[in-house]
């Protein structure tokens, strides 16, 4: 996640598999415009795993669907942005070429295994469809690959299972099938959108293990989208936290989870129930996510932020590495040196808040 400032239209270096630059996806609906994704930038190196975390409606799924170009346009509109994948800007590919990318170079694992498989086809047919289409092999070869993939994802009796229909399988099994489908063509990037949310806890762990194991074996990069910090902590190397359509903090998982810098990340971690002794009220982040039609003009977290001070209300903080720790990036005025903050003329003496904030951050550090 090192920062390169490259001009628009310039491809990133070859070790970077996916680079999203200043992506803005807006939805035009009856009541106005919803900036679902509003200036998101991040990159994933080849074979790297990254987690995109945030609560419902923060724009993480829209980000993934924009990368796959699966959004209906209109109502969606990709206002600005570049999505560099393997040396090409996906946003400029014609639809026919994009179809070659989908399911071949980039594949997806969806949230709802119960409804993501077509009820009228056998499991084997559905897995081999992608293989036959992208690898231009015979039906027979596609079927063999499907059976092999079913074996790889740990489904017993794959020859027989391949001939079965989705309704004959449990949720966990179907998610394994979805994973088999996603990996059948040896993709360069797998996007997993809440892959374990619909599953019960014991199956969740199995599925995460499986995704991790197959990711390492195949060398594909992984973009894991989830609202579950525990899932991120267990599965990926890099993490990015989204809030109200923006990435507000990125870094290695260790940094983001153990040494959060943004007050929102900190609040998220503090609200994990296990941090609170029995009998006490759970910690919550006060307030609610901003109304998408009336985003705050400054920092979007400002109305809920316990540390908000003068520049926060008016000016949007940029996502930048704080001077103290270059490995992480955070979008918060607390971590911008005083001299670089806007509106200094208006705010006569600089506020002394930051030091206090840092103390609080450390108090929530885990083990």
């Amino acid at each position: 996640m090192t920062e390169r400032v490259l001009g628009p239209g310039v491809p990133p270096p070859p070790d970077v598999l996916l680079e999203v630059r200043d992506l803005r996806t807006y939805f035009h609906v009856m009541d106005g415009t919803v900036p679902a994704v509003d200036g998101v930038s991040f990159s994933i190196k080849r074979g790297e795993t990254m987690g995109l975390v945030g609560e419902s409606g923060c724009g993480k799924s829209v980000t993934s669907l924009t990368i796959m170009r699966l959004l209906d346009i209109p109502p969606a509109e990709i206002v600005t942005g570049e999505i560099w994948f393997d040396g090409r800007d996906l946003l400029r590919l014609p639809e026919a070429e994009m179809r070659e990318v989908r399911g071949n170079d980039i594949t997806m694992i969806f949230q709802e295994p119960m409804t993501s498989l077509n009820p009228v086809f056998t499991i084997g047919d559905q897995i081999s469809e992608a293989v036959v289409q992208h690898r231009h092999v015979s039906q027979k070869a596609g079927w063999d690959r499907a059976v092999e993939m079913l074996r790889l994802v740990g489904i017993p009796g794959p020859e027989r299972r391949a001939r079965q229909y989705p309704h004959e399988m449990s949720g966990g099994m179907r998610q394994r099938v979805m994973i088999a489908m996603a990996l059948a063509c040896d993709p360069k990037l797998v996007v997993a959108d809440e892959p374990t949310t619909a599953l019960d806890v014991t199956i969740q762990a199995q599925i995460l293990e499986l995704i991790k194991a197959l990711q390492q074996e195949s060398g594909a990069a992984l973009l894991l989208i989830t609202h579950d910090l525990a899932v991120v902590a267990e599965t990926v190397q890099q993490a990015a936290v989204m809030y109200a359509g923006k990435i507000i903090e990125t870094g290695t998982v260790e940094d983001v989870i153990l040494r959060p810098k943004h007050p929102y990340t900190e609040g998220l971690l503090r609200s994990i129930p296990s941090h609170v002794p029995r009998g006490q009220r759970l910690n919550v982040i006060k307030g609610t996510v901003p109304n998408p039609f009336r985003m705050p003009s400054g920092c979007r977290f400002e109305p809920r932020c316990p540390y908000a001070f003068e520049p926060c209300h008016e000016f949007e903080p940029p996502l930048a590495a704080p001077p103290a720790d270059q490995s992480q990036q955070v979008a918060c005025w607390l971590h911008v040196p005083e001299a670089l903050r806007p509106g200094r003329a208006a705010v006569a003496p600089a506020p002394p808040v930051p030091t206090e904030a840092f103390v609080q951050v450390e108090s929530v550090t885990r083990q």
């Binding site: 796959m68 699966l70 179809r99 070659e100 990318v101 989908r102 399911g103 071949n104 594949t107 997806m108 969806f110 709802e112 409804t115 993501s116 498989l117 077509n118 009820p119 009228v120 056998t122 469809e129 992608a130 289409q133 992208h134 690898r135 231009h136 070869a141 690959r145 092999e148 993939m149 074996r151 790889l152 994802v153 740990g154 489904i155 017993p156 009796g157 027989r160 001939r163 079965q164 229909y165 004959e168 449990s170 966990g172 099994m173 394994r176 979805m178 489908m181 990996l183 040896d186 199956i203 762990a205 199995q206 293990e209 499986l210 991790k212 194991a213 197959l214 074996e217 195949s218 060398g219």
Partner: protein, 314 residues
């Protein structure tokens, strides 16, 4: 061309936790396709099975035609008697006043009715499915144009067009009637297919198919259509029944099949005068044939409705 896949079963096995799903018990259950399941449900519907039997006989008669008919439908085997002769061993359903065999007329009528019902249904079904599918999947302007066309077709008084068209495009031709019925009755199917498509194109498995890179045409006809087919098949069955009645009705009015061909409608039309003499067999047998056929098709439709309901479990 195919490159060697990176992930192969020859590689290191997945760890124990990621391995076999513990909950999966190996049961040697036979795998049933949706159609097999549907047939299983259909079989429990006794009336539908009976309907299928009766309709099967009608179709058999229609296909075998001359083989099962005792006389050539154009022949006059009996002698002209005013009011015809009643049922006898020689003429099971009696004869009409010119001496034609009513049994042969009914069998020949089955041929005409089944042909008209089946082929008009096929034309209406194909047109309706294609128009509805394109409309529902494409949406936007395409959808708008096609659905306004459907509205226009619905707004035209159906019977009037059929009467005029039947007169205009060749009175009495079976092919003309098939075309007219088929090309006028597809809007119903189109609306039905469109409605299913509108909801199905938002389905998760359609998005999953798009994420795999499947083309729109393939998604429309391979992924969505089979899921939308249940109600369409039911509607097509009922459409077939109603087109058979329509043929009888139009022929009865003298706008359908020409007089020399003995369709059920024509037979009833003749019978109208005959009833004065109390010769019930002229009207009874063709009338029963229509009623039986339509009833059996409707029962089949009923059975299919239950059998193809995706929510119904075994």
């Amino acid at each position: 061309m195919a490159t060697t896949p990176k992930l192969t079963s020859a590689g290191p096995a997945v760890g124990p936790t990621g391995g076999t799903a513990a909950a999966d018990v190996e049961v040697a259950l036979e795998s049933l396709s949706q159609w097999q399941l549907a047939w299983r449900r259909f079989k429990r519907h006794k009336m539908a099975l009976m309907g299928l039997g009766i309709f099967g006989v009608m179709v058999g008669i229609a296909i075998l035609g001359p083989i099962v008919m005792p006389y050539n439908p154009l022949d006059i085997p009996g002698s002209p008697v005013p009011g015809g002769t009643g049922p006898s061993l020689q003429h099971l359903f009696g004869t009409d006043s010119t001496g034609r065999d009513v049994f042969t007329m009914v069998l020949n009528g089955a041929r005409i009715s089944v042909a008209i019902g089946f082929f008009s249904m096929t034309i209406a079904g194909l047109t309706g499915v294609v128009v509805g599918a394109v409309s529902g999947f494409a949406g936007g302007l395409v959808d708008n144009v096609l659905m306004r066309l459907v509205d226009v077709l619905f707004a035209i008084p159906f019977l009037f067009v059929i009467l005029v068209a039947a007169r205009f495009f060749g009175q009495g031709s079976v092919v003309a009637l098939i075309l007219i019925f088929g090309l006028l009755s597809w809007p119903l199917i189109a609306r039905l297919v469109r409605a299913s498509f509108l909801s199905l194109r938002e389905a998760d498995f359609v998005e999953a198919a798009r994420a795999v890179g499947v083309s729109n045409v393939r998604i429309t006809f391979r992924h969505i259509l089979p899921n939308a087919l249940g109600p369409v098949i039911v509607a097509m069955t009922l459409l077939m029944a109603s087109n058979i009645v329509l043929e009888a009705f139009v022929s009865y009015l003298g706008f359908g099949i020409s007089e020399d061909q003995t369709s059920w409608g024509n037979a009833l039309s003749n019978a109208q005068t005959a009833l004065i003499f109390g010769n019930w067999w002229w009207a009874f047998f063709p009338g029963m044939a229509i009623a039986l056929t339509v009833l059996s098709i409707n029962f089949i439709g009923d059975g299919l409705r239950d059998a193809l309901d995706p929510r119904a479990r075994l």
